[in-house]
Subunit: 212 residues, 2 copies
DNA sequence: GTCGAAGCGGAGTACTCGCTCCGCTTTGTG
DNA sequence: CACAAAGCGGAGCGAGTACTCCGCTTCGAC
């Protein structure tokens, strides 16, 4: 009965070769996107995986679906990084997370443009957000960042780092570290306030769902 | 002799209707790119200008050439903003320039992806760089920013703002102001240093010439 | 070992986009 | 006004893209 069908009539298990090819395709896509950007053609990806385009489309309904799967992987990894950072003492977790998540993004630059473009109820995304909020609260409690900061400020910080990574990636792969250092310095408490309202959560959600 | 030819054999003057259409095309392109991004088709631009695509291609050799002309306009405007900021007292010119140039970019978002992608010997670009360097020196002199900053740090700051503007433009057109406030706070002098090397001028040049 | 289902490659399809070509129109000089 | 040069529109071309289809191959349950 191993070849029986699930609720929607699809086979429950992929054949061994098919499952293998699926993994090959995901790895190949990550490599190709990292070098050429998301504009890379599906044929190129299939060739890099050593399969035909037909096989690609039997595993992923569209190119976009393939990208979404890659993004999901990255998002889950970010969630893990954030959770790990919670353990750090003295409210340092936030800075730690920003550094490691940026480094991870710099290595997986291929799918960056779509990274913050998932459904707002995506489980991994919700998880990341909650954990970041906790990191922020902890950092505030230890006086490492301004009290006026919101989670949406951190989202914006990550967008900004993404922009710098994408711009500088080929020429100066570590340039974002300097930028992050400036940003972190800007997050620290000072006598005067920032003087502009933060984005609302709803606005961030609209950015995430509408752009594409 | 008004219809005589120049050194390369091209007509020296455009006919009145042709010159008018050229302006219409530039304005239409700015509008269309602002809404749809640089991916907008040439046919759409021609229609917005009320001319045919043939006319577009008689005035601009390629779509890229049309974009380059728009970028040049923005760059010259930025140069003017920087020069005006020099007048401000107490080393405030730098912050002023960052604010006004960002606001200007937010309104001309169409050609942003190509904005820092001109030949490094472009006159307007050289001018902007020199002026920014002067603004930076002035800000340092008055103790408004860290001594360790370089011009390349400011280039990176502008890339970062561009990223935020592009991401948030449709939903929260003013969100970049909050981000800039954080950045400016990060530029201010503090006891500890940034801890990472700035980009070199050569690296910035390579980014500017290679990307695209 | 058998055999049907699942998987496979890659030529072919449909479409988009930048760009060209050419018969007709407008301009402005003499 | 005449008329040559300059300009015009937009159908059509070629290149490149995401995606489909189908005859052949491989897998693995029995």
């Amino acid at each position: 009965m191993s070849a029986s069908t699930g609720v929607l009539g699809q086979p429950r298990h992929l054949r061994r070769d098919a499952a293998e090819n699926r993994e090959l395709l995901l790895e190949a896509a990550a490599r190709v996107f990292a070098v050429q950007g998301l504009g890379a053609g599906v044929e190129e990806i299939a060739r890099a995986a050593g399969v035909g385009v037909g096989t690609l489309y039997r595993r992923f309904s569209t190119k976009e679906a393939l990208i979404a799967e890659l993004v999901q992987d990255v998002l889950e990894r970010m969630s893990a990084l954030a959770t790990a950072a919670i353990e750090l003492p003295d409210g340092r977790g936030l800075e730690d997370f920003l550094e490691y998540s940026s480094a991870y993004q710099a290595e997986h630059r291929g799918c960056l443009p779509r990274l913050w473009n998932t459904a707002p109820d995506n489980e991994a995304l919700v998880q990341v957000r909650q954990t970041i909020a906790a990191l922020l609260a902890d950092a505030k409690r230890h006086g490492r960042v301004r009290d006026e900061l919101t989670s949406t400020d951190l989202t914006m910080v990550m967008w900004s780092i993404r922009g710098v990574i994408e711009t500088t990636r080929d020429v100066a792969p570590d340039a974002w570290r300097r930028h992050l250092a400036i940003l972190v310095a800007g997050l620290r408490p000072t006598p005067d306030t920032l003087g502009h309202r933060p984005m609302t959560r709803a606005q961030v959600d609209r950015v995430v769902t509408e752009s594409g």
